[in-house]
Subunit: 339 residues, 4 copies
């Protein structure tokens, strides 16, 4: 075997997402390898590192990011740990792929943006992977082409088979609907200015205390109405759909087509059980795009500004949800670095 | 040719809908014939009657309804003329198929209900033809079966290629969304308690002064949220879709399938140009059901109560639309005749 | 109730198809009524007639067709009885809707055509109801438009959930594939010149002695290849599909769309259990078209020639099936009456 | 940048497929890099190598395969050059991904198999990329599960927008239908025993002398009938579909779903323009699977036997096409190495 220059990646956090990124970088992505894994659970980090040639285990992110064979960072630790990890990466001027959320609230996201602005160039790609999904990309291309005229409304469905027992009402906004916030902003190239949350009588599938499903409406500064059905315990599978209604036509993505079966009085197909199956290609493409851009010396994709804007809309959304009324979103003026 | 007993029908109003009912009764429906046509335009009535054996032309509804060969009435005149026609039909105790709206407002609808209650039995079937559409019927049967659990939300799309120049913002509610009001009430077997109307920035297709499309949300007394996209100038065709989101699954109707064509880089099919093509079978089935019930001595289908409830929700809707806020619907207690 | 001129129809044969036509004429069709029912089982005829005002029961077709109140005839008796019934109808110059097959073989079909030619005008519409199916009509219109270029191939699927125990291999051709023979001839406006029947290893669902499914290929005098999958015991439902492959595109009908349901890990819809559900509208339209043409004094739809051609292709098909080789179809020159 | 062990790949042939593999190995595949490119056009090879770090250009395959930094080989030269390249690779005991066809005829394929058997272990993966397509994989999994019962028939559509002017009738079999030969063998795990080729009147799109489309039927040793519509000049796009008809159900893949657009009186989506768009993921997966297996020291995927069997069926197919009759396929007994 010959030797070849590749991007050495440190993966911080080795939970579900982090471990999946380790596998992806090792087995799927071209041009990168995992040179460091970081977890506060030293044993876990060591076990994961053991299976990868040339990979070192760390418990301290700062130590990992200082290592010679670390060229770039994936942050996949819990949200509250993101700010510290990002600031450390900035100290070493390392490119970062930061899993969403950028940080848990708008205030900390602002601090991250300020630090990045002091560096004078973008270092962060936020892990909004839907922007790398083939269907969303096709929808984006169609909207950008203007072929159907200006977008007027965006209808979204976001359905999960079920959620873990500790899932709270705020998480419906912060963990689930946050994806629609980002894709709406990205598809439309507009900011969200207000948010309303409506609640039908809860499903019998909803755990005690979780009003599930909910119906969320965003308004944008371009006058588009975006509605989102979020149903976290629908039982039948994972389904993400979007329909853009434009002046002269509509476009819809997310129908679970593929193989069509006729059997036992029914025609149809299967629904993905979870986001992993639905978005596996998007994750692969996201990470490859980040590696490719990094190797070219660029930073692309969703920025810290996108992470901040999502956090600000989430904060308004949680208030709207609690108070049962339309709530306006407040954003700072967009810094020059993110224009 | 032999002679055979058939239902003699007077058709009041010979505009687009009335003329179509004349054709339907004459050529499609089994067991009925048109024995009278009524229009204030005497010439128009005479021309129409001339083509039908045994059919008399009238300008005065009262004269037509007094005729010996009139066994039942279709009211297809403009809405403001409905109340008088219905009261006259009640005088002769004639069964009526009354095109929607029952009357133009809740107050007049109340008067019609009072008169019908004085008769002591139902005489009116209101022309909400979607209840006779094969797809809506299938959706209703599925919801009633409980197979998917309790309904939680109902998403609706209502798109017209275009509308006539005199179409007003109130007509979006009164003429278009009124159909979703009725199907929501019927599908769910619940009353609508509040209505909110939201407006994105209007389409470039919308005529000056018409904020089109709009997004309407109903709340029901069973806790279901019903949202309706109404887009009256979408250019691409006529499309009516509904998706019921239930506890354990969803069901959607209104995809314009049929013949699928592959050609010139595209797969797909055609979209109905207007409601006539989309709902022709529903109209045929509605009228046949009315004739059949009448021949059996029964009155079935949407009642005056349904006409009244639609009028009351429309009134709230028009207020909600004008004032930009959630508006509650006020209904009288449901009279015994309509339970 | 008033009296009205309607077409008095005699229905000969009151089995499944005949009884359904009695119901259809009585309850669905406009402009006709059942004035006579004929069955060799006198009791059965009497019971059926008893439920219909002005309807007389007969055991002898000749007596029925001589009655004053019989203006037209539906022949729904077993195939071997068709020739006699048709010849009797010709004696009275009565218009006939004859269920398929016209007669059981080409020789008897020729005799019927000769008798009809002696009358000097068409009297027979053969009951190939697919020509009245909305989807087949759309496909026919598209092919006739030339929009996709000249048709080159026609792929057909013909699937039954199951068949009765007495179903034979010949019936696969004579009772099932005969429909594709007729629609291919009609869609293409071409005659079938040769037929090949291929047999895969039989399904475990096939009863002993029935090689099911089979794969049939027609060649036409216009150079089109038509293939038919006939699978009579597929268990999952009734499915009839056709795809026309033209020079510049293809068009497919028969996908069982309608209501789409998401539930329990699956998206999809239901498949019609049998031909009644799939083709109910086609039967209604077929009979209405026959009544309408008759009231206008015309004879339209599939002619005796179409019945004869189907019989001739069936005969070749049964030989091809038995002998395992391509078999040519022999037709007489088309008489002037049927051009 | 750190150094990392990767598989050094020599790519022989830098035409459309070869150049695409160079790009894939360099930018998409994990764990491999291009260390050599070989083309008889020295300039072309040099230009391609210049853009890749550590890549050497060759005109002589033998020289490339002898290089120290070559660990594995992709053969993408014209078919007649495959045998020599494979034998050279065998001399160095290098794993090979050989684009289809393995060799241009059964006799040369036999020689390759004999040489590989002398090595005593498999070295060749043949480039039948459809086996790596997500939809075909799903169909294969369903058939293998037995959920729908035993397969009885397999209907295939293979449509190209157009073909290059030098495309011959034999190429319809050898270059196009060969894919269906392989997927049929793989999906069913059965050998093809006979082949029939039928020709409708050619499309006006077909160039002079090319009878296009054609309809091909395979019979298998398991009694399955496989039909293939091959239409190489359909103009509307690239479309590959397959429907397996099993005892208790059918399964279909290849509908070009994805984004659904409503516009200008039509619903539908776009059709892939060519095989690159349709099968890009399959190619990526194929090459990654080959790299992964090679790094594990294994050889998986379609074998030389599969290449030989395809060649033998093609030879029978070309005879069947020329002579217009069913032609039997002759295969040697399957050597132990390929069981």
């Amino acid at each position: 075997m010959t030797q070849h220059a590749t991007l050495g990646v440190a993966v911080i956090g080795t939970g579900r997402m982090g471990a999946d990124h380790v596998r992806r970088i090792s087995e799927v992505t071209s041009g990168a390898r995992v040179s460091a894994v970081v977890d506060i659970d030293a044993e876990r980090a060591k076990q994961l590192a053991a299976g990868i040639a040339g990979c070192t285990a760390y418990t301290d992110p700062a130590a990992a990011l200082a290592a010679d064979d670390v060229d770039a960072v994936i942050v996949a630790s819990p949200g509250p740990a993101h700010e510290a990890a990002l600031l450390t990466a900035f100290e070493h001027d390392l490119p970062v792929l930061c899993e969403k959320p950028l940080t848990p609230d708008a205030a900390s996201a602002l601090r991250v943006m300020e630090a990045e602005q002091r560096l004078g160039h973008r270092r962060v790609q936020v892990g909004f992977m839907r922007r790398y999904d083939a269907e969303y990309l096709r929808l984006k291309a169609l909207l950008d082409s203007g072929e159907l005229g200006r977008p007027l409304m965006l209808h979204n469905r976001h359905r999960n088979a079920d959620v873990l027992p500790y899932f709270t009402e705020q998480m419906l906004i912060n963990d689930s609907v946050v994806h629609e916030m980002d894709v709406a902003r990205w598809l439309l190239d507009q900011e969200i200015t207000a948010i309303t949350v409506m609640k039908p009588r809860p499903s019998g599938n909803a755990p005690e205390g979780l009003s599930d499903p909910q119906f969320v409406v965003f308004e944008t500064d371009g006058g588009v109405l975006v509605d989102v059905e979020i149903y976290a315990n629908c039982r039948f599978g994972y389904q993400v759909q979007a329909e853009a209604v434009c002046e002269n036509g509509t476009a819809r993505i997310g129908e679970a087509h593929g193989m069509l079966v006729n059997t036992a009085g029914r025609w149809g197909g299967s629904i993905a059980p979870d986001f992993v199956e639905r978005f596996v290609d998007a994750y692969d493409r996201e990470v490859q795009a980040w590696v490719d851009a990094t190797l070219r010396g660029e930073v692309t994709g969703p920025s810290s500004w996108d992470g901040y804007a999502a956090a600000a809309v989430c904060e308004a959304g949680v208030r709207a949800q609690a108070e049962g009324r339309r709530t306006e979103v407040e954003l700072i003026a967009r810094p020059a670095l993110y224009r």
